[in-house]
């Protein structure tokens, strides 16, 4: 079975600094794939490369077997890739529900003339879109915050809206960049359960996360980065015992 996401010797240089230095790994369908490493290891850069916000300076990224070099972010999204952002990039003036509705963009096949004429099918389609968005928000536990502008939501709530927005695209591959940062333990539990459930439904997840317990609990495979290089890869139990990983995290000579 071919990998849903494949990185082959990917490089990204920022003004002489190798943020990603020949990283290679694969994410298979239905897999929750953890991507961990110390600060500055290049995790977020990889997410940006996969979602097309950055272009690699070397190597290749394939999504569903197709090389994505030079593809604009919206084209990559159309391949079934959705993401969240480490520093939360919601549309602040929009309500939670409207944020999620934007996430449904690619799934909506409506006709502009019908809409401009205000024909019933267009209205019905929009009703369905709204209902789906509400259902997604309910799934992340925000059913009573749907009408609130997201800028007024708490940090944890905003992260959940972002996850719902990414899920709204029904992505094949979900890129989550530190989805639990700033959340309380109860919220973290809920997100862990959600990730597991999403994977069970057949979505693949690439998870960048600092919360090691969460990663150990939900991931099938973990890739560990340090200074842009892959230093270990495998199931959680194996990675946790890898001496290179321990050194990287605890410091000391590598």
């Amino acid at each position: 079975m071919t990998a849903l996401l494949a990185l082959e010797g990917v490089e990204r240089v920022f003004g002489g600094v190798r943020a990603v230095d020949g990283a290679s790994f694969e994410v298979r369908p239905g897999e929750v794939h953890g991507l961990i490493g110390p600060n500055g290891a290049g995790k977020t850069t990889i997410i940006n490369l996969v979602s097309g916000l950055l272009q690699p300076t070397g190597g290749a990224v394939h999504v569903g077997g197709q090389p994505i070099r030079g593809l604009a972010p919206h084209r990559i999204a159309a391949l079934g890739v959705a993401r969240t952002f480490q520093n939360i990039r919601l549309f602040p003036e929009l309500s939670a529900r409207d944020n999620v509705i934007v996430g449904e963009h690619l799934r909506r096949k409506e006709s502009l003339p019908a809409r401009l004429l205000g024909l019933p099918p267009a209205r019905e389609a929009e009703q369905r879109v709204r209902e789906r968005a509400e259902a997604l928000l309910a799934r992340v536990g925000l059913e009573d915050r749907m009408r609130e502008r997201v800028k007024n939501l708490s940090y944890g709530e905003q992260r959940r809206v972002e996850i719902a927005r990414a899920l709204a695209a029904e992505p094949k591959l979900l890129l989550l960049d530190e989805p639990t940062a700033g959340m309380n333990p109860v919220e973290v539990e809920a997100v862990a359960a959600l990730i597991a459930k999403v994977a069970a439904e057949g979505h693949s997840v690439l998870l960048v996360e600092h919360n090691v317990r969460l990663v150990m609990d939900v991931c099938h495979v973990i890739t560990v980065l340090n200074f842009g290089k892959v230093i270990a890869e495998g199931p959680p139990a194996k990675v946790a015992e890898d001496p290179a990983v321990i050194t990287a995290y605890l410091g000391g000579p590598a």
Partner: protein, 295 residues
């Protein structure tokens, strides 16, 4: 009854110009609605005004044909303009489009066929006030219908965070270009209507000052709602006439002080009503609620 007629006759041109300015303000708003400050509308209005006037004056074409051409030609220009320019962001986009507008104006100044700075005169008056308001109504309907649709949400998303919108699969360039083209159409139509309303067109009517006026209409009215620019255009078009009325009562002579009031009004709106006049009712309600809570 007589009073009513007198008032209508006195202010009919103001009424017409409210509509024309509303169209022009909407033409700036279209790109603002997806977060892009493009100041090309005066250039597009010039293209529309001249295209229509040349057709009616020199080629004996009917008014509908002229209006159609005046709407279509700026759209055709907007595509090759927009493709390179819309990659530029923020203030730089504004500057690039100001440059475009100046090039259009200077082109007209140097074009002997259209009499250079003297412009085209004795243009038949074919625009009626109802036509202007029909155009405004159609534009508003279009924008209202976009709201809440797939396309409307995409525009809001681009305005709020362009990069994030792209990762949702939104082809931002297409949307931005579409709004620039729509704005160009509105500006061109407004230009043609104005030319056939005021008997003449000249390049100086389409300079930097004019496009700044359009932007100011949109911002003072408020760009959070699609009808904000119309409210802003109405307010600022009526303001000089109100000042004309009030000036003798407070002893202001026609002249610079009237100009000063405009500046002060604009500054106050920007500082104290950041979302424009249309946000005033909500603001007042909020304040009343705040007061009742503290009391």
């Amino acid at each position: 009854m007589e009073w009513l007629q007198e008032t209508y006759l006195t202010y009919q041109s103001t009424l017409g110009y409210i509509g024309l300015n509303a169209l022009l303000a909407l033409s700036v708003y279209t790109t603002l609605s997806c977060g892009q400050l493009a100041l090309s509308s005066a250039g597009f209005a010039a293209i529309g005004a001249y295209a229509a006037s040349i057709l009616t004056l020199n080629f004996g074409q009917s008014f509908p044909v002229a209006l159609l051409a005046a709407t279509a030609l700026p759209m055709l220009v907007a595509v090759p303009l927009g493709l390179p320019v819309l990659r530029i962001r923020g203030v730089f986009l504004a500057i690039a489009t100001i440059a475009f507008g100046e090039v259009v104006r200077l082109g007209l100044v140097n074009w002997d066929y259209v009499n250079g700075a003297q412009g085209l005169v004795a243009i038949p008056q074919k625009t009626s006030v109802w036509m202007i308001y029909l155009a405004v109504a159609l534009a508003l309907l279009l924008l209202a219908r976009l709201r809440g649709s797939k396309w409307g949400f995409a525009l809001e998303a681009i305005r709020e965070d362009e990069a994030a919108a792209r990762t949702m699969g939104i082809h931002t360039t297409v949307y931005k270009l579409a709004m620039l083209v729509l704005g160009a159409a509105l500006a061109g139509l407004a230009g043609a209507l104005e030319a056939h309303y005021s008997f003449m067109v000249a390049p100086n009517g389409f300079g930097f000052v004019r496009v700044v006026d359009m932007l100011v209409f949109a911002v003072v009215g408020g760009t959070v709602a699609y009808y904000g620019p119309v409210v802003g255009a109405a307010f600022l078009t009526v303001l000089p006439e109100v000042l004309r009325e009030l000036a003798p009562l407070v002893g202001i002579e026609p002249g610079p002080l009237r100009f000063l009031v405009n500046g002060v009004v604009l500054l106050s709106v920007i500082l104290f009503l950041p979302n424009g006049i249309v946000s005033l009712p909500a603001r007042l309600r909020e304040r009343r609620r705040a007061r009742s809570v503290t009391a």
